[in-house]
Amino acid sequence: MKSLSKRGGLVSLISVLIAIALWEFFGREVDPIFASYPSAIAHAAYDLVASGELLEAFLQSMQALVVGYVSAAVIGIILGLILGRYRLAESGLGVYVYAADSTPLIALIPLFVLWLGLGFSVKVLIIFVLAVSPIVMNTWAGVKSVPRTLLELGDAFVASDSAVMRKIILPATLPYIMTGLRLAVGRSIIAMVVAEFFTSISGLGGVILAAGEGLETAKMFVPVILLMVLGLSLTHLVSWLEHKVAPWQKDTTGSNH
């Protein structure tokens, strides 16, 4: 098994190297305004790093991302637990969560800008709004899927309401919460870039937009690639955490295999 996965990794690496080589070869034939190629992008990346522009933009983006994502996680988990546990909350509030999950909330960005202007807080709000729904939905579904027998175990040992929540529901729901958190990573990165396009003054999205308008295509690719690396790393990090916190759930959360 191990040598097989090693070989799989080697095949992936070769595939990527070939793709980069082909891109380099054919990319040079194309007008540099319409496309770019790896060595030009590397060159642009060097300039962006050397000038400190990339780091500044990255930090600006990350600030909004972290604040938006973490608040989405905290509020999403709490809301999901309440919706799953209390039937009254589910009947009263569930319908709004469903509605919000099905609406393309990106459409509300102009309204958010109207409320909060073009600063940091509007970025955070947009990231929050897009990241929160997979977390709520997964946590909610997780609570609903806690086996009845485990809840009965709580009854049999005379567990209080809060003990049932802490000792049974929360740990049983953890794998679902982690899935929600993983899905939210991708969505919050998209939200971050979209927010920066709208506010267009800062962050990696700002760099992309400025480079695009200045017809500096190679430069534009640098933050895009950085975002890809960021998305992959964060998703892997959460996947790794997912297995770390719920090692008993080997089969149901095997997404990174």
Binding site: L150, L153, G154, D155, A156, F157, S160, I168, A172, W248
Partner: protein, 276 residues
């Protein structure tokens, strides 16, 4: 065993369920007036076919379900909800998958409010009692079916209940493991002197373990209570499977179950006393 002390008194318990059959609201009568006294230290087996109410009766004693009418008293106190005077062993052990064996045993002690150091010590002792001291740190997914059920039993014994309620705990185990577990339970029973109510659909199991076998009829009533006059140790009883008492009682329970569950049978089976 103080033979004259009633531990559990079941009085005229009726339990109905509202369900829908083909879209029509129907009342199902799971228990139809059950009365029984269970003595302190006694091992009573509830047996009968599926749907006869034996498990429902156990759950009513536990307080997981409320009787529609009638009462259950434990030590003279009417049962209204679950309490630490009763311990439950579930059919599929129902361990918490994120806790290891030791932590699973501690679960009830935590809820009972036992201090951490004492909790750990008690859990450790219980683990030894069921012979799992080497698997203290194994999670349920690393334990076999028999080991899981041993942890379930240790968890119930850990809170030191007066009455142990066991719902077909060995039903899912292979015959070999089951036999070992039956002997262990019998030893545990004699060591602790707990009152045990044990639901089983396996006549052999009831014969090996019980002081009295309670036969539930499909109508949700007790059809007959059969006293088993054999030594209490299951290991000894296994050796006596060819004795007259064993064969006679086993045959009687089997025939009775067969007759009361046969819809075409008009004759009510005679109880042992009537037959004598």
């Amino acid at each position: 065993m103080s033979a004259n002390n009633v531990k559990v008194r079941i009085k005229d318990v009726v339990k109905t369920f509202e369900t829908k059959v083909n879209g029509k609201a129907t009342t199902l009568r799971a228990l139809n007036g059950v009365s029984l006294d269970i003595m302190e230290g006694e091992f009573v087996a509830f047996t009968g076919r599926s749907g006869c109410g034996k498990t429902t009766m156990l759950r009513v004693i536990m307080g997981l379900q409320q009787a529609t009418s009638g009462t259950v008293e434990v030590d003279g106190k009417v049962v209204t909800k679950c309490g630490y005077d009763r311990g439950m062993v579930f059919q599929h052990a129902d361990l918490l998958p994120w806790r290891n064996a030791l932590e699973n045993i501690e679960f009830g002690l935590e809820l009972k409010g036992v201090a951490p150091a004492e909790r750990r010590a008690t859990a450790q002792r219980m683990l030894e009692l069921v012979g799992l001291e080497h698997s203290a740190h194994s999670r349920p997914d690393q334990l076999s079916g028999g080991m899981k059920q041993r942890v379930g039993i240790a968890r119930a014994f850990a809170i030191d209940p007066e009455v142990m309620l066991m719902d077909e705990p060995y039903g899912a185990l292979d015959p070999h493991t089951r036999e070992t577990m039956q002997i262990e339970l019998s030893t545990l029973h004699q060591k602790t002197g707990k009152t045990i109510v044990f639901v089983t659909h396996d006549i052999e199991e009831a014969m090996l373990l019980a002081d009295r076998v309670v036969i539930f009829s499909p109508k949700g009533v007790i059809h007959e209570v059969v006293k088993i006059n054999l030594p209490r140790s299951a290991a000894e009883r296994m050796e006596m499977a060819d004795s007259e008492e064993y064969i006679k009682k086993r045959m009687h329970i089997w025939k009775t179950l067969k007759m009361i569950n046969d819809p075409n049978c008009l004759e009510t089976p005679k109880s042992l006393e009537e037959a004598a």
